[in-house]
Amino acid sequence: MSEIVENRMNTKPNEDLKIRIDRPWSWKRFFFQWEWLLVIVLLLVILINSLLSPYFLSLNTFISTPATFLDKAFIVFPMMFVIMLGRIDISVASTVAVSAVIMAVSYNMGLPMPLAILLCLITGSLGGAINGLLMVKFKELSFVIITLSTMIIYRGIAYILLGDQASGGFPKWFSFLGWGSILGVPFIVICFIITAVIFGLLLHKTSFGRIVSGMGFNKMTCEYSGIKVNRVTMIVFTLAGLMSGVTAVFLTSRMGSTRPNVAMGYELEVIAMVALGGVSTSGGVGRIAGPILAVYIIGYLSYGMGLANLQAPVVLVVIGLLLIFSVLAIRIRFSVSRKNSAV
């Protein structure tokens, strides 16, 4: 019967089927989406911010301000994939640190800056690949223990290389990556948009994205269906490492120098953004729009609290609360929809 698959081009679409293959439109399903809630929350945040500061509502806020909070947002996408696989990678912040440190050290040892950046990305990818490899080779171990160990090791390597010093002195053009803009749009924002588009297409339009979701729901079924589950795991974790490297580049560019303790706590912010974005921590569920909205919500929230002269620690509290509440809300939402579908 597999000729069905091969001859599908020749089959007439109007062939009579007892089963419908066009998706029925449902208003309820369209509006019963987590993303609408996020849109409302984002609008609320913007509203409150503009009440706090009359200067907030300007074109600048929407074009330039994101440059202040987008550095870590690059990790959100691969972290989304990792969480969709039903796992969590808490080593990403350490990967950022070790990549940044290696970039700085290699540059100061005489490597040309473009090559140093390349080395930074390679280091990040390698860090992620090691995580993936450990997951695949030691299936008995939980992701918690693996990424916890590598989290300590990667940060430890950063300290070994740099001690407690800072390293910088990068060429002028390097600061362009974090601070420059093209036609008035910050370079980092452009990069973020491109990344978002790439990951969005990867998730929703390719077989890879489909498989990531499938593995999150039921890895065993995927294995029985002839999916190369180990390869997918490796790729997802390597992507997490690669994007940590990207974050390292932008972060270092914005700060002008780097230290072994950079990016402390980034893993939490990233995980919070992914969870707030409606990605279920039990795996499988996730759409690209949610985490993007979550990046902007948390970003503008911190920015607005700065406007209101609230201390940075309050932001920590708010992010923590957001993380817990969004996980609880998603859990409740899914238990409701599961119940409905079971009837």
Partner: protein, 511 residues
């Protein structure tokens, strides 16, 4: 005549889409061993879960010592003196034997409330000794063999002073010697006045032990007989039913050339020296008791757990299969036994499920052709008669039979020559069963070679061309379906000695 210690009348229970029990009766005398038999999916497991309070029944009445009872949870059942020993032992592998026995009702010192370890270990040891076990109560549960774990479970039941003990296929994973140990223990319990419900697939168990036997079939009560009034043949007929034979649309298909042959396949600890071959258009049944190694053999052929030794020849080429990816690429498909855990992604719609094994043929450079995907999955769902409004229906909402059709559709998206079906009709209703048999008939007509793993005797007899029988990890018989009898199959599945029996074990230890 003594009063009935347990009686159930008109018990019914439904799950979404399935009637698991339909007006079932059962009664138990004090100090009696009562056998309970039936095919897979006859409703035995649900029945036990109702007695032990895991599920509640929809209609019907349950009496203990003549009093009407109903249990909200397993604890209440335990307080009434009921204990169950499940097929898959539910133990705490990291704790000691004594703690496993007394978990939840630990021995404590009266005033300090601290655990009385000495008393607990010595009383656990007493229970074990009473059961004739020769291991220590300090041993960690995870280090014991399944047989010994089962003895611990029995000791646990005794420690709660259970008057009714339910044993769910306790002999399924035991060797002959271990089984006879268990018989001795069970009879000892009966002589002490405990009533036992003994569930088993092995007819020899029931004839050896039981005073009476009750048979369920297709969720219904078929009958209850004292052992002296029933013969083996009559019991088999009661279990499988007579009319069922007509259900099988076995078609006459010319058998073609050999597609698959397996020689001396071995996976250490699971099966040894398994050889079989399969032709185009042939249905080869692989049968035996649960735990005989049938699924394990096929999972090795399919590459889930690659074998340690042996040669697989496919289409006259020797091939190495190290994962399902290579098996599918070669042309071997597998329908797993647990469709919910291994066959489907329940949260996904039907369409996405169907195309999962063949995503690469629906995508170019990973880019999905969703239109083509929908059309193909729609056609396959249509062809297999999946009952659903559209292909966007979530798989979890389908009935068991329709879920199974979706899993079959998944396999059909690939270009295959051999399909292995592992218990394809387990847990589906009669109508869906017939539909699945129709599909299997279609497949052989198209020239697929099929290996059908099944524990159901009528299915094996009605559908297959040849039968391979396994016992304890070894092939014990290769039979021609048209020339063999049920007795021959049962004999090979239950009686024939394999090298795993005790004489060979001791021989191997010496050698």
């Amino acid at each position: 005549m003594a009063e009935k210690i347990l009686e159930l009348k008109h018990i019914s229970k439904s799950f979404p889409g399935v009637k698991a029990l339909d007006e079932v009766h059962f009664d138990l005398m004090p100090g009696e061993i009562h056998g309970l038999m039936g095919e897979n999916g006859a409703g035995k497991s649900t029945f036990i879960k109702i007695i032990t309070g895991v599920h509640s029944h929809d209609t019907g009445e349950m009496f203990i010592n003549g009093n009407l009872v109903s249990f909200a949870n397993p604890m209440e059942a335990q307080e009434m003196g009921l204990a169950a020993i499940y097929q898959h032992v539910t133990c705490y592998p990291d704790l000691t034997v004594a703690e496993n026995i007394y978990m939840g009702h630990e021995k404590i010192k009266r005033y300090s409330k601290r655990i009385d370890w000495n008393k607990m270990f010595s009383e656990a040891q007493e229970l074990l000794d009473q059961l004739g076990a020769n291991f220590d109560s300090h041993e960690r549960m995870g280090n014991l063999s399944v047989a010994r774990q089962q003895i611990v479970e029995i000791a646990k039941a005794l420690s709660t002073r259970a008057k009714i003990i339910i044993m769910d296929e306790p002999t399924a994973a035991l060797t002959q010697h271990e089984s006879s140990e268990l018989y001795r223990i069970t009879e000892g319990l009966r002589d002490d006045g405990v009533s036992i419900i003994f569930i088993s697939h092995r007819i020899e168990d029931i004839f050896r032990l039981a005073d009476r036997v009750t048979v369920f079939r297709d969720s219904r009560f078929i009958g209850c007989w004292p052992m002296e009034e029933i013969t083996q043949d009559k019991l088999i007929v009661a279990m499988v039913g007579r009319e069922i034979i007509q259900m099988f649309p076995k078609r006459k298909v010319p058998i073609g050339e050999k597609v698959l042959s397996v020689e001396n396949l071995t996976r250490i600890g699971y099966f040894r020296n398994v050889s079989l071959d399969l032709h185009k258009g042939e249905i080869l049944a692989l049968t035996g008791l649960v735990g005989a190694g049938r699924t394990e053999v096929c999972e090795s052929i399919y590459g889930i757990n690659p074998s340690d030794e042996g040669i697989i020849t496919f289409d006259d080429h020797e091939i190495v299969i190290d994962s399902p990816v290579t098996a599918l690429d070669a042309g071997i498909g597998f329908l797993p036994e647990d469709r919910q855990k291994q066959g489907l992604i329940l949260d996904w719609e039907i369409g996405k499920n169907i195309t999962l094994p063949s995503l690469s043929s629906f995508s170019r450079y990973n880019w999905l052709d969703e239109g083509g995907e929908r059309l193909a999955s729609g056609q396959l769902a249509d062809k297999l008669n999946v009952k659903a409004g559209n292909i966007f229906t979530r798989a979890s909402t389908l009935s068991g039979g329709n879920q199974q059709k979706v899993v079959v559709a998944k396999i059909l998206t690939r270009n295959l020559k051999v399909i292995i079906l592992d218990e394809p009709t387990k847990g589906v209703d009669i109508k869906a069963k017939t539909a699945i048999y129709e599909i299997i008939g279609d497949l052989v007509e198209q020239g697929y070679g099929i290996i059908l793993i099944s524990s159901e005797m009528p299915e094996v007899m009605g559908m297959s061309d040849r039968i391979v029988v396994m016992k304890e990890g070894h092939v014990t018989a290769l039979l021609d379906t048209s020339k063999c009898t049920q007795e021959e199959i049962l004999n090979a599945a239950m009686v024939v000695k394999t090298p795993r029996t005790d004489a060979a074990v001791s021989e191997a230890r010496e050698g």
